[in-house]
Symmetry: C2
Subunit: 197 residues, 2 copies
Amino acid sequence: MTVTTATRPMRADARRNRESILAAARELFAASRPDVQIDDVARLAGVGVGTVYRHFPDKQALMGELVRERFVLFNERMRTAVEEGEDEPFESLAEALRDNAASVAGDAATRFAMMSGGERVFEYVGEEKEEFLRLARRLVLRARRSGELNPRFQAADIPMVMCGVCATIDKGGWDWRRHLDLVIEGMRAEPSAPPAV
Amino acid sequence: MTVTTATRPMRADARRNRESILAAARELFAASRPDVQIDDVARLAGVGVGTVYRHFPDKQALMGELVRERFVLFNERMRTAVEEGEDEPFESLAEALRDNAASVAGDAATRFAMMSGGERVFEYVGEEKEEFLRLARRLVLRARRSGELNPRFQAADIPMVMCGVCATIDKGGWDWRRHLDLVIEGMRAEPSAPPAV
DNA sequence: TATCATACGGAGTTAGGATTCCGTTTCCGG
DNA sequence: CCGGAAACGGAATCCTAACTCCGTATGATA
């Protein structure tokens, strides 16, 4: 149960600064590796380091929030797939994966968290991560029933695969779409099992 | 062309120490993440830090040597596959990949180099890396000719895939063999193309 | 075994960054 | 328009490693 700290209002400037900080962090993490420095975030956000620390206890927390926001996007995409992919179960799953990978391609913070980032970062994403897995399970189940998905593939494999693709993106110089396509090919049911349409 | 610095002899104790250092580094990197410290390596090797730096200009160089040695093992395995897998082209390639992945599972230094590690580390592996790609090309070509390999799969995809699996291993908590199997499944030729045996 | 080029040890230096501290400034309710 | 709680700014502090330096020890050669 995530504590929904019922902090009342929040001064206007504070709210504004919090947003600036997140925006700056997003921008810096978008291109660079996770070695973005708090001082840079502060500068770009137009605030002092102290202010960053007022809003986020430490760097991990800041990254955590970025990751959480990313997961919100993931989940929106997954939900769309659930709602609109009834007639193409496998393809809708695959497309959701492709889109999410593309989305993470511009977000080093999330990539880092997904790979080497300690569990710490994910502490701030608990709820969204759960929801993600829930949606993943639905998509996987449906695709499996359609007979197009390799029955051994599990919803929990999705984060693992995403982690792998993240590494590829991070390293740069490779065509990660190729990597993802390969994996998606591997997810397909073997021809032996005729689709039970 | 790697410079084969024709340094003559090398004092006996020096040679011995160099080995101790490498052994210690291997041991420490085997379990831990790449945050192993030079001081720890020195202590375990029973030498002073200065000695480590006498043998390796910097940390990258030390890791580089570890990676190089790992690649030598990779190559031995690949060579075996080339020599003994004539009748099972696809399987021999797949098995070589599995074995190499297992081998890298106990070597954080190489994992690191393969993923986030800067190019620096690979500077020391030039020759072995070339050889690796050469062997990979042979295996891929042969498997492709047999019709069992997806014709779109290229030898250069192997490092990419390995990188992905490394990330999975590194993150821990996942069954990377599963990941690799998935990828290998994706490498298989689609049923449409009947094996041209 | 004397000589000295090689090697060694490890305290000390340096540098990059995260995090803290506290005097000052800015909101907001009354 | 006031008082004080809530926020700010950013210089200073602390830490964590990598790496350097130089006096000492040791293997190899004549």
